[in-house]
């Protein structure tokens, strides 16, 4: 199964250091890992560094993969307009680096990605006509259709209603469990992180300040330190940990 490990990874924009000395345990296929932290903590930069879009010191080691491009990345929504249907835009993501001729297998993968995210009905719509939430699901399909072994999603639930947030995270959980994908997902909802992820990494000012099993990482002390809120974590009626925020401090 694919593995990902970061060792003393850093990243800079010009002279400004965005990430510094990030070292993680070895994450494996089948895991869902949350990337947490306040705004501008460096979450998107870390994704771009893993993808190789940014250079820097340290090592990003991806092992046990035979794929040419094992990682797919869903960036935050940029709201770009183009005269393309949803179906075309998802096909486009799959066809990068391939010949201009579309094979039946490529269409099958587009169908599968749309179906997986329950957006088949959007296939004929122009992407410029979509709502923010719909665009986010299409963006997830564009990452999924690349059949990655490591799937990275940058705040994929930020524009979704509650139902679709749960559905998307359930799909991600299933992809990890059934297809053995390693999923890294940036989230602001720590309740979702507690419910759907196995491990969490917490970034603050470009540094990794906590990393490990999600239930061990998300603690009242960390929430006070990083998010500046007073909160407690209690089991719900089904025994799952749930986050109760009391006030900002």
């Amino acid at each position: 199964m694919v593995t990902l490990q970061l060792t003393r990874v850093s990243a800079r924009y010009g002279r400004r250091t965005i990430l510094e000395d990030i070292t993680t345990p070895c994450f494996q296929g089948g895991q869902v890992v949350a990337l947490l932290g306040p705004n501008a903590a460096g979450k998107s930069t870390l994704f771009r560094r893993i993808l190789g879009l940014l250079k820097g010191e340290g090592q990003v080691a991806i092992s046990n993969t035979s794929a040419e491009r094992p990682v797919a990345y869903m960036p935050q929504d940029t709201g770009a307009r183009a005269v393309l249907t949803v179906y075309e835009s998802v096909l486009l993501a799959r066809m990068q680096g391939r010949s201009l001729k579309v094979q039946p297998e490529d269409l099958a993968q587009v169908d599968r990605a749309l179906e997986e995210l329950n957006i088949t009905a959007l296939g004929e719509r122009d992407i410029g006509d979509l709502s923010g939430g719909q665009r986010q699901l299409v963006s997830a399909a564009q990452a999924l259709v690349q059949e990655p072994e490591i799937l990275m999603l940058d705040e994929p639930t930020s524009a979704l209603d509650l139902n679709r947030q749960i559905n998307l995270l359930t799909v991600l959980r299933r992809l990890a469990d059934e297809r053995g994908m390693l999923i890294l997902v940036a989230l602001h909802d720590l309740g979702h992180a507690l419910r759907f992820t196995d491990a969490s990494m917490v970034l603050e000012n470009g540094r990794l300040i906590a990393c490990g099993p999600t239930e061990d990482v998300i603690t009242p002390a960390l929430l006070r330190q990083v998010y500046k809120v007073a909160a407690r974590i209690e089991p719900c009626s089904k025994g799952r940990p749930q986050l109760i925020v009391e006030e900002a401090v």
Binding site: L53, T78, A82, V83, L84, E88, V110
Partner: protein
């Protein structure tokens, strides 16, 4: 119906829609090719000596069976001009299409990025003062000057665009700055030049296909044929560029490198076209917009569609330039703007889907 069957039905629907869309676009491309052939024949038929479409088609298919006079008029005099219209139209339209794509700006075209203005300045230097930037035979001084200045402008924009922090918006602004600089220099040339030279410069900047010859046509065609596959090779990546740099990068595209390569290729296309026929600003802007409305922005269809739309617009423009005042060929640049822009506005205002 079982769940599996339901899923299969939905899958098939998505795929069927995609296939029907591809078929429809192939048919539109085919229709454009047919329209282009028809327009070419009409363009050949019109002139001081008029021929029927049947005579033109006969002369095209079996030149040995028509009179020598018809053969000379159609093949030696009108054909290079009519074919030049197609190649220049296609070149300018493809250049505009890819500039709009890589800069994500609907106003980008060889005209608005200053490439045409640079070419005009180069041509004016030759026409007004006989300056040859590179020594050449007298008949090639003007097109060579125009070509060199067009490429110089393109490289200047490229060089400035490589500076840190330069965005696509800045590149467009740089282009507009170039237009103003060259327009001022043109005014300066016209201020110092003789009356005859000013007339020559003004006529050149109007854009005219009558400058076309077989050698010029083969050069322009050669460049177009060489550049098209190089652009088509990046078809998927160029389509992805319209989703924004961040999204394109996430799909494995390298936007900066691609932007630079494509800008050089399309500058070459535009420079050659403008050097040979003068400034025709409208095609590079409108050809791609019409192609986009007809075919969408999947480059597998948008790229050939832009070429065909540009070629068709200029060919039809050539026809109109001959029939407005019988016996007079009005410069094509004037026709394309006067006739084309109202048509373009009609299309844009009646097209409900906004793409920018």
């Amino acid at each position: 119906m079982t769940t599996d069957t339901l899923a299969t039905v939905t899958y098939t629907k998505g795929r069927a829609f995609y296939r029907s869309q591809v078929f429809r676009r192939q048919m539109i491309l085919l229709a454009l090719v047919v329209a282009l052939f028809f327009s070419l024949c009409v363009d050949l038929a019109l002139g001081p000596a008029r021929y029927s479409l049947g005579e033109v088609i006969a002369a095209l298919l079996t030149p040995q069976n028509v009179s020598q006079q018809a053969r000379v008029i159609l093949w030696e005099i009108r054909m290079p001009v009519a074919l030049m219209a197609l190649v220049v139209g296609a070149s300018l339209s493809v250049a505009g299409a890819q500039m709009q794509t890589i800069l994500s700006n609907p106003l980008a075209s060889p005209f608005t990025l200053g490439i045409s203005a640079g070419a005009s300045f180069g041509a004016a230097l030759g026409l007004a003062f006989g300056v040859a930037i590179i020594p050449a035979a007298i008949e090639f001084v003007v097109p060579l000057n125009a070509f060199i200045m067009a490429m110089f402008t393109a490289f200047l924009i490229h060089a400035l665009s490589l500076k840190r922090g330069v965005t696509v918006e800045t590149i467009v602004l740089l282009g507009i700055a170039m237009v103003f600089i060259f327009n001022s220099l043109m005014a300066l040339i016209q201020f110092f030049a003789s009356q005859e030279a000013v007339s020559a410069v003004v006529f050149w900047t109007m854009g005219s296909l009558t400058k076309a010859t077989w050698p010029k046509f083969w050069v322009a065609l050669g460049i177009l044929v060489a550049v098209m596959p190089l652009l088509a090779r990046h078809g998927w990546a160029l389509t992805a560029m319209r989703l924004g740099d961040a999204k394109a990068e996430s799909m494995g595209v390298k936007p900066r490198a691609l932007r630079l390569e494509v800008l050089i290729l399309v500058s070459l296309l535009a420079a050659v076209a403008v050097a040979f026929v003068g400034t025709i600003g409208f095609i590079g802007l409108v050809g791609p917009h019409i192609a986009r409305i007809l075919l969408g922005e999947d480059q597998r269809f948008f790229l050939p569609g832009s070429a065909l739309c540009g070629a068709l617009i200029l060919s039809v423009g050539s026809v109109i330039s001959k029939i407005i005042i019988p016996g007079t060929i009005i410069p094509i640049g004037i026709i394309t703007s006067l006739v084309g822009i109202p048509f373009f506005l009609f299309l844009v205002l009646n097209h409900k889907k906004a793409s920018w």
